[in-house]
Amino acid sequence: MAGLNLSRRLFRNGCATILLYLLMASVALLLAGITAFLIRNGWSVLSWEFLTQPPRDAMTRGGIYTPLIGSIQLIAVAMAFAFPVGVLTAVYLVEWARDGLFTRTLRLAVRSLAGVPSVVFGLFGLSFFVITLGFGASLLSAGLTLGCLALPVIVGASEAALTAVPKDYRDASYAMGATKWQTIYKVILPAAFPSILTGAILAVGRVAGETAPIIFTGAAFFTPRIAQSLLEPVMALPYHILVLATAGTAIDKTRPIQYGTILVLLALVLGVTFAGVLYRARLRLKKQ
Amino acid sequence: MNNVNVRQTIDAELEGLRRNLLNLANLAGEAVKKALWALCEQDKALAREVIDADDDLDRRALRIDEDCLRFIARFQPVAQDLRTVSAISHMAIDLERIGDLGVNVAKSAVRLADRPFVKPLIDIPRMGEILQEMIDAAMRAFINGDAEEAKRACAMDDTIDDLERQVFREMLLMMMEKPRIIEDGTALITVARTLERAADHVTNLAERVLYVITGKVASASQFRRPKEPRNDNGR
């Protein structure tokens, strides 16, 4: 009886294994296909000049220097805003907030924020940063809008990271006469930092590829030079792709540039992610 | 739960130790009783039997002592378990001594078997009976956890002491009268003294039993009549 049962179980196990492998293979195939498609169409335009020259001749020639730098600037502004605010919000939620109506509402609000379509963030940015605060359509407005988009991701990840810090660390710190802030600042945040970083990396990925929130708030169709101050509009890679794909006058000529730009955007996101992962790995190595 | 099983093992082991000790007590009591019987009946063969049986008794005592050590090493007993096993270990030694004293009596019996007694033996058999009662009482107290019984065992030592002194005085008078019986007289005094020492070991047993039961170190003298200055200078 055990034999029969066993062969049946082994059979099922085999089926499940095969199914999972198939699923995995199809996902990998899909990704490889997309990447291959992009590389086939965009590889020809990639060159050093492509990265260091601004677009010329109604974007049919030249490079993507201005949108590339613009995207990096946007990410920097968005993170400079969202990272500290997000982490501190999470610290508040985990360490200070007593479980009550206010906390629960706050938590719910943050969660819902993550589900809001990005175009809504764009409209909010337009009415709040651009008009109400008077920042105009600028790097600052667009960056802050993207920051708002990143906020729920960072808060969520940080909350999870802070909650995951073993209670033992807190106990040990308090038992030596540490205050709450000392404990958070010197023990809990450092211990949670690698995981918080993971959240931030994900947020960067999300922010870098967004178009809708920046269209109204600071992304320019074209600027001749990179932004010199926070209040100038910037070009950005995702918007640039949109422009190339929809607003070009000579679609045939811009198409390779469009795919090349996508490849660069992909590389940028991957690069930021990879740098973050490396840094995190080094941090962990130092601690364990 | 595992704990309960360990507890059952401990209880079983202690039960085994108790049974072996009880056995030893029987053998020790038997040795004294038989030796006295051999003395009274002038039965050399019986006396030799007692002497020969002593090796077995010694072995058993040693065995109990080893078992106690092994028990301590394995279970690291505390509280009553610890007191019990410690008591058993000590009591085995006392009982082994009582057995040895029985052998001494048996040896005297062999020596005295060829001649008529210098006097009829009354007090010495009486001492033997009381000694037996004391051993029984001490062991009963141990098995039943009865502190009163143990105290009674201690108290009986007074009677033994009285009888020993009586034998001593009586023989002294007779020997002064008839010096030729000095050899036999001294032998009888020695027998009485031996029995008295055996009784002292029994009070040790009773003290141990009291410690097991109450957890307090007891001295047998607490349960005996107050000591009075002795007037016989013979001791």
Binding site: P166, D168, Y169, D171, A172, S173, Y174, A175, M176, G177, A178, T179, Q182, K186, V187, P190, A191, K286, K287, Q288 | N3, V6, R7, I10, Q76, P77, V78, A79, Q80, D81, L82, R83, T214, G215, K216
Partner: protein, 253 residues
């Protein structure tokens, strides 16, 4: 031998909301001695330990009635500063819990909290504390390596070093060896014996043999009450209460 009383409780009750975890605790803890708390799981011994440095303050719904005197002062008085209290009454936990940082940083953590900044001074404190916890020789060449790379037993001794680095007067230990192997346990026990020369030690342990080996006084907890307390040698040879007897001889618990 004149024993000074370090801690004394008087009619102390501990409530977790409606549940009374400790009932009318009256006990004294002698200075520079090891006091062990034993009892079955959930008997309140760990809770009691945590009342002594007010770690229970963190438990929502926890409430202490009665008085707990440290050197004659009630630590539950409203003017008692908890930070100072915990500096004086340190704690070592069940699981070794070094911070994910270097050995040096772990030990220096406490002194830094309390304002020691001078590097040389910190070095001295670190060495002294590690020596005090009998782990200096094992780690002196790798003070900068991560504490989590140490073995469990070493981690626990490091935690002891960390706790004594702030020069507390009392060291509370909550089952400090329950996560360790017998060899590591033996080293900690040895350490506890030496610690009592400088500190008052109160230790919760599940291991009765351990209590018997290392403590001078023992208190037996059952269902939130102290059933019996007194010199360890008496508790383990001649307990007065039948429940103590039953517990230490393994009849329950």
């Amino acid at each position: 031998m004149g024993k000074t009383i370090k801690f004394q409780t008087s009619a102390m009750n501990l409530w977790y909301d409606r549940f009374q975890a400790l009932k009318a605790i009256d006990i004294t803890i002698s200075e520079r001695a090891v006091t062990a708390f034993i009892g079955p799981s959930g008997c309140g011994k760990s809770s009691f330990l945590r009342c002594l440095n007010r770690m229970n303050d963190f438990v929502p719904g926890a409430r202490v009635e009665g008085e707990v005197f440290l050197d004659g002062r009630n630590i539950y008085d409203s003017d008692q500063d908890v930070i100072t209290l915990r500096r004086r009454v340190g704690m070592v936990f069940q699981r070794p819990n070094p911070f994910p940082a270097s050995i040096w940083d772990n030990v220096a953590y406490g002194p830094r909290l309390h304002g020691v900044r001078n590097r040389r001074e910190l070095d001295e404190i670190v060495e002294k504390s590690l020596r005090g916890a009998a782990i200096w020789d094992e780690v002196k060449d790798k003070l900068r390596t991560p504490a989590l790379a140490l073995s469990g037993g070493q981690q626990q001794r490091l935690c002891i070093a960390r706790a004594i680095a702030v020069e507390p007067e009392v060291l509370l230990m909550d089952e400090p060896t329950s996560a360790l192997d017998p060899m590591a346990t033996a080293r900690i026990e040895e350490l506890v014996r030496t610690l009592k020369e400088r500190f008052t030690v109160a230790i919760v342990t599940h291991n009765m043999q351990q209590a018997a080996r290392i403590s001078d006084e023992t208190a037996f907890f059952l269902d939130g009450e102290i059933i019996e307390s007194g010199p360890t040698h008496l508790i383990f040879t001649s307990p007065r209460d039948g429940r103590t007897e039953d517990y230490i001889t393994g009849r329950f618990g």
